[in-house]
Symmetry: none
């Protein structure tokens, strides 16, 4: 199943949008008509649909209701400015969001990211004796809850999501503290120590958070 199905009759707009979304890491299909969209959707499905209302042939409402017939795939309706009727109808049909043309690509990307996050990002990571509830921001080790600070949890999440990779200190630091942080890189190592105390059996001999000399850390 693809990530995003774009339905848009203007090839230029659709193509550009496709590029942007692919740059964000989504698997995108771009359909230029309602017919094509429904066909592709029936064939393969999609996690989210970005749907222009103004389409030749079957219009956006038609596509929306057909998709809604037997699924609750999130749909973002795109339509010309001030088409209030569109907004009403679209939302009535169960679209998840609505955006006006011409739209700010940033906002659309943010909306999409938000939907993906709410809908598809697993809220729990389980790895060995570690269970991490991302939504509730709680960490369980061997079934018992550990209190963690915000930074610790962010760090752990990032490492869990990049298990097996060597994560250079700079990368970790930039991801968690922001590339423009004023803090010292040493701060990272201090947080690592605290994390180790919480998740390692023997913090003196870390098995999960391994240090890779001269480079950074690797989560196992």
């Amino acid at each position: 199943m693809m990530d995003i199905l774009i339905v848009e009759d203007n090839e230029e707009i659709g193509g550009l949008l496709q590029d942007f979304l692919e740059a964000e890491g989504y698997d995108v299909y771009f359909a230029t008509s309602g017919e094509e969209a429904l066909e592709v959707y029936a064939e393969e499905g999609a996690k989210l649909v970005v749907l222009d209302i103004m389409l030749p042939g079957i219009d956006g409402f038609g596509v929306c209701s057909r998709i809604r017939e037997n699924s609750n795939t999130p749909i973002i309706i795109v339509s010309a400015k001030n088409a209030k009727e569109d907004k009403l109808n679209g939302l009535m049909l169960g679209a998840d969001d609505y955006i006006e043309k011409p739209y700010d690509i940033d906002i659309l990307i943010a909306k999409i990211a938000g939907i993906f996050k709410r809908r598809y990002s697993s809220d729990e990571i389980v790895d060995g004796n570690i269970r991490l509830d991302k939504i509730g921001r709680r960490l369980y080790v061997d079934g018992t809850e550990m209190t963690t600070t915000s930074k610790e949890l962010d760090l752990l999440i990032y490492m869990l999501e990049n298990k097996g990779k060597v994560l250079p200190k700079e990368e970790l630091f930039n991801k968690i503290w922001g590339f423009d942080s004023e803090s010292e890189i040493q701060t990272l190592t201090v947080h690592m120590k605290w994390l180790r105390e919480k998740i390692e059996k023997d913090p003196k001999k870390p098995e999960r958070i391994q240090t890779v000399w001269g480079v950074g850390y690797r989560f196992e």
Copy 2:
């Protein structure tokens, strides 16, 4: 396809940059206008584009979006200092990185190397009884993991990627230690010894890392 396409209207800066990058071993083309860049790009393509934003005629953003239309060639945006808007726009348009003018050539080279590494080099090298995980920076010999130091691993990677070639000591040394290293070339031979101990069946009779008398080494 060339390695790097530089787009920069200042001939002096661009020419200098070209020299530096060619010294790093890249195949570089230097275009002085957006038009020329797009033409050359359409003709031949490039693995990476270093793009100045301020250009006469089609500006950098234009070039960026045109290139992005049907490719995801990595793009590094170069722009005047503190032009946060440029940064935002550039990154929005799908640039992979951003660097401020005046920039440190070393940093740009590092960014480029990073992109090439992430984008165009595979994660795992398998060769005979050796398996090397570049992402995790781990070495397996006959299936069992060997601990390696950073330099050892760098050396081994370089040799694996240049299998069969005679690698002069100076070349190896410059690649791993940097041409401006203060260390003695002897250091290289010490590291070779350590590597041999890790990957050779009989380190006294090396089969993989062969000595080429008076020149350097060759990996078989």
